[in-house]
Symmetry: C2
Subunit: 109 residues, 2 copies
DNA sequence: TCCTCTATTCGGTGTTGCTAGGTACTGGTA
DNA sequence: TACCAGTACCTAGCAACACCGAATAGAGGA
């Protein structure tokens, strides 16, 4: 997909990850893999880890270290109440933007 | 709306402006005003002008200077063929992203 | 003269995703 | 034993983009 999707992900990737966490807790490596499965083939691992650090510092998620059978311990993130609130706000903003764009697309047909 | 929409606009604002230009040619001040009417109250004027310079340098738009009755001459931008192609690519990318997000939203309900 | 509206430009800032590495632990294979 | 692949996390430096604040400049009205 390339550069276009990269720019569009700015601001939405955070919501995407929080939405994934709202379904059930997960750790960075797992989230990256799941995103790749869903078609986001270009998303860099480092991006997810940096993003997780950010949302943790903002207090949107809770973290627990869990030992892994194969590899270093996992940092399992789960959405907390503040994160859930933030996610709702994200969806509201997303809806606003999606509506405007849908209008624009219709208008230019 | 605040910070959230600002971040989301990265990568989409360009498409929004190009979509506006695809309907008919327009100049910066006019585009800004139209966006404000459509609910994008926070978009800074400077942002639009910088964006227009960018898309011009990439050859997506053509420019014509037109005198104004009230104020400095207007720089009227119109979408050219390359811009139209780019806009289609933008819509494809947007659709991809919107679908994933819609899925995620459904899944977390 | 001064202010408002029109219209464009520019320098500096913060956020964000990417690149391109590195660390570390486990298990399998040559 | 030595090496490599898979798992799992982290970091420094970079580029793109939207914002803020200010400046410039022309036209018309108080």
């Amino acid at each position: 997909m390339g550069k276009l999707v990269t720019e569009m992900l700015k601001g939405t990737l955070e919501g995407i990850v929080l939405a994934i966490l709202s379904a059930r807790p997960a750790y960075g490596y797992e989230i990256t893999a799941r995103l790749r499965d869903q078609g986001f083939t270009d998303i860099a691992e480092g991006t997810i880890y940096a993003l997780l650090v950010r949302v943790e510092q903002r207090g949107l998620v809770d973290v627990k270290k869990v030992p892994s059978e194969k590899g270093p311990p996992r940092k399992v993130y789960s959405l907390n109440d503040q994160g859930r609130e933030y996610l709702e706000e994200f969806w509201r903003t997303w809806s606003f933007l999606a509506e405007r764009l849908e209008q624009l697309r219709e208008g230019s047909k």
